[in-house]
Symmetry: C2
Subunit: 286 residues, 2 copies
DNA sequence: GTTCCGCATGAATCGATAG
DNA sequence: ACTATCGATTCATGCGGAA
């Protein structure tokens, strides 16, 4: 058993991060303020200034992350003047110049997206979960996030024809063909890079509704118990609280005292016990 | 009733497009060859050369598209050296310099992506459907793609609560006004920008598995019967065939004779009759 | 303990009007 | 012409209390 800890800092992450030792964090999961939102907190970064504002932060994050660590950045571009703004894709290009590898882009499908109607677009029901790494080799425990077989297997896998079974790998290049028998009797399959999760609205007092399941999924996937999980834009503290509950060391930075106090309070209220940890994260559920 | 037509061209779209009049196409839906694939056809465009290769084509597409028209580009970046390559996001930036507006990015969630396993990534279950326009105002018929309302409405709307009837316009700033009573007799709602569609792999003899439902959805949404729908990388002809079936004029360009002949054959085999058109695209189904 | 059911709420965008 | 404010529009989910 590992001790569950949490460390939270009140201040601007641009300053606080500088006090952290290099190569000390295993996973960063964060959802920075989006352009032009949370105006009172971060001074309302204009979309045109967003990249410039974020780069010094990602530079520090690159420094504090372990070589085998992972950085998950939750972000989505605003509509400006009838167009999707380009600050997110520009940021990807600039972060690569800093040395980040853009390993993958997960999609967070928000099942309960915001309502609304406009003459020229539909409701926005997805956000980017950009995965960055320092090296091509990083820690990843895929089997921990396997999902029970769903409709997909019932329809396709169980009705495979002879030709499907004989089909060689080259057709799809996925290793499907020859090893298909391995899949048939499995209860669990690996997930895809599309995550279906609803936003969580209640008991958070924070505009950015990050569901617990989101950091939980990445913490399971990319860290071991005892590892360090950082959220430089802590907000209501979802990432930090989930990390501690899972027996990791949650580290959070928040600039707004109101949120900081809220998380401080939540951490004291819900002191995890060894019993609780064992119950929640025993066998088969890291 | 409109006559259903189709025009297909054998040749390199870089050349064929130049013979088209400007401002003549209502909708472009295409899935260009991905980087490094279909080597023999377009010479196997290297990811690093992809943008350079595509820009002259998008330039021509901009010319032939009507001001009120829409361009849907289905594309996804390859993994190169353990990283997602940046040619797609670079292409977006460059196309904006040409004058394109990057109006929206739809997500095509491929529900039945094949299983497979790699040491450091999961199965790729989504692709980008980039929407580009020439103007902020373009043709769009949202009501034609409405979907059945969720089950929640059945119970919810039977008896409206006090607040449902009362909450008209709520607080300024963070609040959101609504009027559930408006939905009393509503059976259909507007969709989101996430499209859930299974891939179509069989009976196409073509590597890009584009389901009929995909062009169908955009053709319904962005065109009227009789309008022109172009696919400069026709392949197995999905877009062209669907367009003709829906009473639009399908226009396709294909460089590879094998595919060209295949589509030519398919067009002759399935000559649509007025009866067939009426059956499939009569009331409530444009 | 389980299921059912009521209900508040969430990273929004456009167009018109006003300064 | 360019920016700021305001009204209008719109779903689906997880929670908590009740049965």
């Amino acid at each position: 058993m590992y001790t569950s800890e949490a460390e939270i800092y009140l201040g601007d992450c641009r300053e606080v991060l500088k006090t952290f030792p290099e190569n000390s964090i295993d996973l960063i999961v964060t959802s920075p303020p989006y352009a032009d939102s949370r105006k009172k907190t971060y001074g309302g970064i204009h979309p045109n200034k967003y990249v410039e504002w974020f780069l010094p932060i990602s530079e520090e994050l690159l420094r504090v992350l372990k070589p085998t660590g992972t950085f998950i950045l939750n972000i989505k571009e605003k509509v400006v003047n009838g167009e999707r703004h380009t600050y997110v894709i520009e940021l990807i290009l600039e972060m690569r110049k800093q040395g980040w590898l853009w390993t993958e882009e997960f999609i967070w499908h928000k099942k309960n997206s915001y309502p609304g109607k406009w003459p020229n677009r539909f409701r926005d029901a997805w956000e980017r979960l950009l995965q960055f790494n320092k090296q091509k080799k990083f820690k990843m425990y895929q089997e921990r996030v396997m999902v029970p077989i769903g409709d997909w297997s019932k329809t396709r896998l169980q009705r495979l024809s002879e030709t499907d079974l004989r089909r060689d790998n080259s057709r799809v290049g996925s290793g499907f063909g020859k090893r298909v028998a391995n899949w048939l009797n499995r209860e669990y399959v690996y997930p895809t890079n599309v995550l279906h999760m609803a936003t969580q609205c209640t008991n958070k007092n924070h505009s950015a509704a990050f569901p617990d399941a989101l950091p939980e999924w990445f913490i399971k996937l990319f860290t071991d118990p005892g590892d360090s999980v950082l959220d430089p834009f802590m907000g209501s503290g979802t990432t930090v609280l989930v990390a501690r509950r899972m027996g990791r060391k949650g580290i959070g930075i928040e600039i707004k005292e109101e949120y900081y106090r809220m998380v401080e309070n939540a951490l004291n209220l819900k002191q995890p016990t060894l019993f609780e940890n064992k119950e929640l994260y025993g066998t088969n559920n890291y």
